[in-house]
Amino acid sequence: MSTPMSTHAVHPVHSSEPLLSVRDLRVTFGRRGEQPFKAVDGISFDVRPGQTVGLVGESGCGKSVTSLAIMGLLPTRGNTVEGSAVFDGEDLLRLSPGQMRDRRGREIAMIFQDPLSSLNPVVQIGRQVTEVMERHQGLSRKEAMPKAAELLERVGIPDPKARLVNYPHQLSGGMRQRALIAMALACKPRLLIADEPTTALDVTIQAQILALLKELVVETGTALVMITHDLGVVAGLCDEVNVLYGGRIVERGDRHTLFSRPRHPYTVGLLNSIPRLDAPRGEALSPIPGSVADNLPWDSACAFAPRCPNALDVCVQQTPEWEGDDVVGLRCFNPMGVSR
């Protein structure tokens, strides 16, 4: 029952070649009669086999749009996607919808936040899990059913054979999310993108699902991109953490460095504004003032400057450039812990 978390220690994976390499990804949504909205404004990151990379940020920071763009799941109209997302030598953003369909579910799979709205309510769980194998591996439903039962068992669903004929509404929230993970794993994908996979779940169920994801990464060597707003989830799960603000990555580091020595004022602000279960009580929280509505455009300033306690004059006049590489980095004129 007990899980000393250290069994899932970080593997040194930086030596291997990236499996997914996102470069300067930009997603712009056109708005009638208004300035186009840059949801993702130049994001670059690498994911290596067996690595877990976190994209962290609050609503509107572009973390979900990034994943949808990589998966080719954005609507075809009303937006432009620029940049590249090279997966195994191929730029996913240049593939035709048909080519993308061949890869989605087979080599790259995704888990969404709300399992009830990502499952078909009128189709039995078994059929939904076998569908992926029928599409990509050419199996008949009869051949795929036993495999579906194995998958359900593997993700910790009790009595999997009986569950195959259940409909989504007959499962609890945690069970649904497990079924969704089983679907994502059906074709042994090399890359798994999880967009807030535990946000809709209770903490005890969240702990179960996170433990499951950790074990899967260790066992199968699947690369995992974890998109979340919860810094606690990131702290226990991700090898590398990217903090997003206003559509750009503002800080990157391995989780130990990022949490023990955060440098971007936004990262520090986030850490200071969450109450910690293990902190002494009675200390007031220090929230980040203002809201994302105060953001400046990245073109001519730092988007975070109006809410930043460290802001200098230069912060509202120039764009802070990315200083760093694909392992650590920072986008700030006046980081914390440095006096100017």
Binding site: E153, D202, E219, L231, S273, P275
Partner: protein, 390 residues
């Protein structure tokens, strides 16, 4: 926000000294009928949302109720305000049994207890201006007799929750989520209540905004001597904001304690599991701490387990008592535990002293049809005690 909230305490009708009992809940039960049938509604069972809860809230304190979805914490919060009529039991508010009040008497009493809801977008009428929203409650309770006094009062309310007076003419959609929650708080404050029940007041907000609203609630409490009942699933938030915490599981309180002590000396197995499941934003802590993973889901509140409600998932379950006798909240003699610390567990002392070993629990399905069916052995994949398969 710090310092004065700008609210004139003269508008508030609060009386009584801090520390005295404001709310006394005893034996409270709220059961919902389950209906079947096309022509005739037959009642085939009851969902026991709240099933025998005793608690007291003292004036000026913040009582936090935590638990997972379906544990009945929101229903309990509503039942205390008589928004959900109790099936049994009583709620004494300042000595008056609210559960027995009806009609006009209840309506008049309502200005003394108000509620703040989780989702401000769906709890604020989108077609009313903020001014109209704030005035509605005051009007209903006859508090807007003097136009100029009302004018001042509205501006005071806005400044108390950190919004500009110009916001009074705006509609809810013109505000961000955090600002909308501030409007929800201003609306609750407008009638000068003693008690505010806040149901998940910050869970719909981004983390940086959560802290703003938490601080606002605390400042207002200090300024106005408010009493809060905060219902939330986020243990860290509840621990931060509350003086005392009650942990709920399947309709009943399993543990109640002063907030700091609950974290230092958790006595109930469910509390321990719940706290170990909360992720901490610190990799060193995450790597070293021991997690108690519960198996399975919350059992159905329509068909709760016999004996201790938690025994089907409890890693410390014993052969005797647990499945036959429902434990009552009691004070236990354990090092570090104060007399205000109550727990509903037959074996709390033995577990605290480490005399009972933790053991594996097979997951059980929540399906009603599978109730009583032989247990599955559980997936070998989820048994984290063995070494991970390479």
């Amino acid at each position: 926000m710090s310092g004065s909230t700008g609210l004139d305490p003269a508008h508030d009708t609060r009386t009584g000294a801090p520390g005295e009992v404001l709310v006394e809940v005893s034996g409270l039960e709220v059961h919902f009928p389950i209906k079947r049938g096309v022509v005739f509604d037959r009642t085939v069972g009851h969902v026991r949302a709240v099933d025998g809860v005793d608690l007291t809230i003292r004036r000026g304190e913040t009582y936090g109720l935590v638990g997972e979805s379906g544990c009945g914490k929101s229903t309990l919060g509503k039942a205390i305000l008589n928004l959900e009529p109790p099936t049994a039991g009583s709620v004494l508010f300042d000595g008056v049994d609210i559960a027995s009040l009806k009609g006009e008497a209840l309506r008049r009493e309502r200005k003394r207890f108000q509620m703040v809801f989780q989702d401000p977008m769906s709890s604020l009428d989108p077609r009313q201006t903020v001014e109209a929203l704030l005035l509605e409650g005051m009007r209903a309770h006859g508090l807007d007799t003097d136009a100029s006094a009302t004018h001042t009062r509205l501006r005071e309310l806005m400044s108390a929750v950190g919004l500009p007076p110009s916001g009074l003419k705006k509609y809810p959609h013109e505000f961000s989520g955090g600002q909308r929650q501030r409007i929800g708080i201003a609306r609750a404050l407008s009638v000068g209540p003693d008690l505010i029940v806040a149901d998940e007041p910050v869970s719909a907000l981004d983390v940086s905004i959560q802290a703003q609203v938490i601080n606002l609630l605390q400042d207002l409490q200090e300024e106005l001597g408010l009493t809060y009942l905060v219902v939330a699933h986020d243990l860290a938030v509840v621990r931060h904001i509350s003086d005392r915490i009650g942990v709920m599981y399947l309709g009943g309180l399993v543990e109640e304690s002063e907030a700091g002590e609950l974290y230092d000396v958790p006595l109930h197995p469910y509390t321990r599991a719940l706290m170990s499941a909360v992720p901490v934003p610190d990799p060193e802590v995450e790597d070293s701490r021991e997690q108690i993973l519960l198996t399975g889901d919350l059992p159905s509140p329509a068909n709760p387990p016999t004996g201790c409600r938690f025994h089907t998932r409890c890693p410390w379950r014993q052969e005797t008592l647990c499945d036959t006798e429902r434990p009552q909240l009691r004070v236990v003699d354990v090092a570090g535990s104060s007399p205000g610390h109550r727990v509903a567990c037959h074996w709390a002392e033995e577990i605290a002293r480490g005399e009972i070993e933790r053991h594996e629990v097979a997951p059980e399905t929540t399906d009603e049809s599978s109730w009583g069916a032989p247990r599955d052995d559980g997936s070998p994949f989820l048994a984290p005690d063995g070494p991970p398969v390479p």
